[in-house]
Amino acid sequence: MSAKPKAVQKPALAHLFWWFMFSQGGLFAAVLLPVHIVVQGILGPLGIVPVVDRHYDTWISILGNPIVKLYLLVLISLPFFHFAHRLRYLLVDLGVPAAKTVPAQAGFYGAAVVVTLLTIYVLFTTAPISLG
């Protein structure tokens, strides 16, 4: 049983921040992701409808649009803060208390930061910014 030394307790601002990122990422994943999977993952590959990524020229020109770049950054990176949080607590739930430790937090949320940086890099290097 936990002894509770009632020393000074402080609001955990790091937890607050990661929870906030978790909730925002979850919201964006919930609202944006299913339609991408339906169109780009199912309808396009089955040839049911034309989709932007089916032809190189259309795909690369739309990837050059700065608004599309910004949108894709939000679509891909924010949900990873949600995933990192959920998977960390999934491990806790499966009986791995080590997932609560600071190194584990650094690992999981750090991975989300890495994905964000990687996404920025890919979006900038893939297609030159163009308004066409």
Binding site: A29, P34, V39, G41, V51, D53, R54, Y56, I60, A127
Partner: protein, 137 residues
């Protein structure tokens, strides 16, 4: 003055604390579906990593580019879609529990909040779908 000393002075004998069984989440349907909800993160993460790879692939030039069309990929997307829908439905419904506003000093009913969340999801899906398909050829 800690809880420990207080307890031991009043309860003279030792207590027995059963450990949480590793399979606790299999004991109840509710726990199981909670774990499924948490697990949705993994397939969704994989699908987004695929999308990132797809974008990166386009940067290698037109010669080697081929659009994704293999059956395993479609199967993978269908599985991810099931998890994505489960995530969307649970997340937007739970958001209706969390979000609380007042309009003209009256709390907005949570049913209305949930309905507006699902409405926003529908509108976003139509707009994004229209762009993805409309600009395709």
């Amino acid at each position: 003055m800690s809880a420990e000393t207080e307890t031991s002075s009043r309860v003279a004998t030792r207590t027995y604390k059963p450990a949480m069984p590793a399979g606790w989440w299999l004991r109840k349907g509710h726990y199981f579906w909670y774990m499924v909800r948490e697990f949705t993160a993994l397939p969704l993460a994989l699908w987004l990593l695929w999308l990132l790879y797809e974008i990166q692939r386009a940067g290698r030039g037109p010669s080697g580019y081929y659009p994704p069309s293999s059956t395993p990929f479609v199967v993978f997307s269908v599985i991810c879609l099931l998890f994505a829908l489960y995530h969307s439905i649970t997340f937007l419904r739970l958001a209706g529990v969390i979000l609380h506003f007042k309009v003209m000093d009256k709390p907005v009913p949570s049913g209305l909040v949930v309905a507006s969340q699902f409405g926003a999801w529908l509108v976003a899906s139509i707009v994004i779908g229209a762009v993805l398909i409309g600009f395709g050829r």
